[in-house]
Subunit: 194 residues, 2 copies
């Protein structure tokens, strides 16, 4: 395995650990155990646990983004694109982009009062999700598919709050029903309000 492949393997495995056990709940010993590498083999690529966690978050967000762009590919109308984003979140329970659920949600909760560098990463990732929804709505308004009185920021806020809260609930209860109800509610909201 080349040095670059080893680095990529450390990042991928760490992203799953951080997304499952959290930043503070994951130790370098956990990373050593999961990767089968010695301490030197990890510190050879990353100066600190923090540097590794920031790289792991970037990787996790890349996986999230890839999955979202994939489901959007075949959808053309603004409402279909919003519904595709919603439906995509259903996979976060049974087959998440990174084991452990939504990395933006998990990192936001853990870092907001405790880790400014990770908080900044979570914020940028959340901005990217909100901006994607805003752009779809703005384009939908321009094309006459969406009510011109719609406030894109407000809708993005409602969608993201509801879906992320529902992922938390469905993971807590180990039952997809909360996410299913949230998606049904948001679909009706999009159909009738936008």
């Amino acid at each position: 395995m080349s040095s670059q492949e080893t680095k990529a393997k450390i990042i991928k495995i760490s992203a799953e650990l951080f997304n499952t056990k959290g930043y503070f709940g994951t130790s370098i010993s956990d990373v050593m155990k999961a990767t089968g590498l010695k301490k030197g083999g990890i510190y050879n690529h990353f100066q600190s646990k923090e540097e590794l966690a920031l790289a792991a978050f970037d990787y996790a967000f890349q996986q999230v983004s890839k999955r979202t762009l994939k489901v959007l590919k075949k959808k053309t109308s603004a409402k279909d694109r919003l519904l595709a984003i919603l439906t995509n979140f259903l996979s976060y329970i049974d087959d998440p982009p990174v084991t452990g659920g939504c990395p933006i949600l998990n990192t936001a909760i853990e870092s907001d009062d405790a880790h400014p560098a990770l908080q900044k990463k979570a914020l940028a990732a959340m901005d990217s999700l909100c901006n994607l929804i805003c752009r779809i709505i703005a384009k939908g308004i321009a094309k006459g598919e969406i009510n011109p009185n719609t406030n894109p920021d407000e809708v993005a806020s409602i969608i993201v709050c509801t879906v992320e809260g529902a992922i938390m609930m469905s993971k807590l209860y180990r039952d997809p029903i909360h996410l299913n109800r949230a998606i049904k509610h948001l679909s009706q909201y999009i159909e009738t309000n936008l």
Copy 2:
């Protein structure tokens, strides 16, 4: 200070630490520093960090429940009671029942894949919140204040998912706008759908 007062002080201060830095992010050294006690003074009351964390969560949830019951006291109609529960969550940003935001949300996210005993506590607390909402709706249906076709479990799910997701967003962005939008959205949902 009596032994019981010392124990109560450790619990209160630890609840704030755990709710801010998380279970894994809080060490016994942090608790020693914040309480001004020596290690023995803490282990005299709690056998382990886990035992302390479970007691701290019980205390945190007590604070949440007290605040909720207080805002419900003056409200009689079912819809007013639901709106009072919603409005109460606004205080979670500027003046939370326990420093660090919503302890049920924070503990749910951190524990779901990583700490079964805390996960069980978070689940019971979330059940209690959902059941309170369900009981208000059922009573409202019985009194003819709420549409009899309303599904209490579904409404409780939508309210809790949206509010908890919005607390996460408003804490991440350090901006109450997301929680304000979520509460406005849910108020309209309650007015028009229930």
